[in-house]
Amino acid sequence: MSLFIESTGFGIVVASILSIAAVGFTLQWGVTNILNLAYVDFMILTAYLDYSLTQVAGLDFWLSAILSVLAVGGLSVAFNHFLIQPFVRRGIKFFYLLIIAFATGTVLQYVIQSIWGSTFFNISVGGNQSYDLGGMLLTESQLIIIGMALVVMFSLHMLLTRTDFGRSMRAVAINPVLAQCSGIRTAVVLNATWFLTGVLCGISGLVLAFNTATFDVNTGTVYIAQILAAVVLGGIGSPYGAMLAALIIGLISEWASAFINPFFNVVVALIVLVGVLLFRPEGLLRSLTTSSGGGTS
């Protein structure tokens, strides 16, 4: 029983990281109709940048964190603006866009490796002091991570519902042509969305690295499975669906990992993914948009 409660605690941590990552990913997919397979590589790039800024340049912890997140946000916009949108305007087949994103991710991995080498690195937040919360043993670091996730989720909710930008984003996601006709500058909204989701990607990369003892270029690669599972389960384009799905998947993964096999956290997420695709591809919650990418005709 104690194992169950303990793993539930870990599940919440995993869910926190996953929710930030999944929300960014699902918004990218919902608003731009891109399945961005390079996402996890941008995530891990943030961790590397943070490492260099703190350890090499000696900057303050939070300053480096903010700078590296903003940098990745900017890179995401550049990725969309200079690589993806030109091809989209040309009317390229979605499949080739997928390959381009995949290629970008792989190339990014190797660029990182050639700059930083292939050794393992470590970045962390808070201390290792453990707190016992009703049977769940969480370190200070993990509690900070959960806190960050809550703050991010709340801010995002405010952004989506209370600001003009949030409304524009939802409009563009549902019907880009109509949005443009009603005066929304679609190109600006798209770039802003990529910046926002790039920031989310960056934050999730940082917290992933914080929660992993040591990280290298491949840490993110398997993570894409859980992100996809959360995104598809929650409904493509639905940030609230992604948050809920992240919680479900985070918990199930950790329970499976504790009780069946440590590798099973990935397998469980994937089985959920395959199951949802086969039986309920629209996910748990209705998505922001109907253009969920590559359906028949």
Binding site: F102, T106, V107, A225, L278, G293
Partner: protein, 348 residues
């Protein structure tokens, strides 16, 4: 030097079989079966398990089952396993999945399999992999160089067989039907064609071929693990297909040569790179990525684009054999029709 060329040749033939299988699924059929390297893995493990014999009591490696079958059985069984794999994956995903969803589900199945192998070391060696794979036809010669040539011949013959298979597939009415399914799935159903059957067929054949490639690779290197059929291996195969010309087998051969051989094997020889293999590796992948994007931008059909259908030996066409002249307009000859059509063809 010759030894190096022989090795390059072997890798070329093995990789070409894989890219041909990708071409059948992604190029000809236009399916987003991104997880096709799974079949490479299936073939390699099958060839291993059917040739190394039962697990020795005191060895370091573990696997669940093994027999020592002589050549060519491991290769044949590997192909069969690949086809079964293709059948299962196809049945699960092809009926309703398209586009992004098909890509994700095939990638998910690929990752499930590699994670299961890694998570259960007793199954197929886990992340340590399996070694000591028996080489086919090893008994023919005891010289190292002699054996390299034998393997070169073996892989060349099998590659040629795969190539001819793909040529026949693509240039037959079945291939034409496959292209039509790719071009417009709903139109094809109005003509009485069942798209699912064609897709499944292409996946089964693709699975068998990729498995052949994996079997040869495992038997050449005599060791196998998880890395050779991981995510990243999808990329060079797809790049080779797109750069060379998707849908065109000769294009695929050219593309495989350019990516795997010229860049893959040739790059380490450049000065500055031979000193730092890691840098060389990184540059190689950067070249693949840049070349891919460049081709998709400037020449998406590839170096050798898909060819138009041609009937070289068809009997000569004599239009005068058309139905009763009273039903036709007066200009019954081709020349006059063409002259007339010159006007209509410019209608917009």
């Amino acid at each position: 030097m010759t030894a190096f060329l022989v090795t390059m040749g072997i890798y070329f033939f093995i990789d070409l079989i894989l890219v041909l299988s990708a071409n059948l699924q992604l190029g000809l059929m236009g399916m987003a079966n991104l997880g096709f390297v799974l079949f490479l893995g299936i073939g390699a493990y099958a060839a291993t398990v059917f040739s190394i014999g039962p697990e020795p009591a005191n060895s370091l490696q573990q696997y669940f089952f093994g027999v020592a079958l002589p050549f060519p059985l491991p290769i044949i069984l590997a192909i069969v396993c690949g086809m079964i794999g293709g059948l299962i994956v196809g049945l699960v995903s092809l009926y309703r999945m398209r586009g992004h969803y098909l890509a994700i589900i095939t990638l998910a199945i690929l990752t499930i399999c590699s994670t299961l192998v890694e998570g259960y070391p007793k199954f197929l060696g886990g992340s340590n992999g399996l070694t000591g794979i028996k080489q086919p036809l090893a008994s023919l010669t005891s010289s190292y160089n002699g054996y390299q040539l034998i393997f070169l011949g073996l892989s060349a013959v099998l590659c040629l067989a795969a190539f001819l298979f793909c040529q026949r597939f693509i240039h037959s009415p079945l291939g034409r039907m496959a292209k039509a399914v790719r071009e417009n799935e709903s139109a094809v159903t109005t003509l009485g064609i069942n798209p699912f059957r064609v897709r499944l067929l292409a996946t089964v054949c693709g699975g068998g071929m990729a498995a052949l490639s994996g079997a040869l690779l495992a038997e050449y290197v005599t060791a196998w693990g998880i890395a050779p059929w991981s995510f990243t291996e999808i990329f060079p195969a797809t790049a080779a297909m797109i750069i060379g010309g998707r849908g065109n087998n000769w294009g695929v051969a050219l593309g495989t040569f350019m990516t795997y051989v010229v860049v893959g094997e040739g790059l380490p020889f450049l000065p500055g790179i031979s000193a730092d293999p890691e840098l060389g590796y990184a540059i190689q992948w950067i070249i693949y990525g840049v070349a891919l994007v460049a081709f998709l931008w400037f020449r998406p059909s590839g170096l050798l684009p898909e060819r138009k259908g041609r009937w070289k030996h068809a009997p000569e066409f004599v239009p005068a054999m058309v139905s009763a002249p009273s039903d036709l307009p007066a200009a019954a000859t081709i020349a006059e029709q063409v002259a007339q059509e010159g006007v209509h063809a410019s209608d917009q």
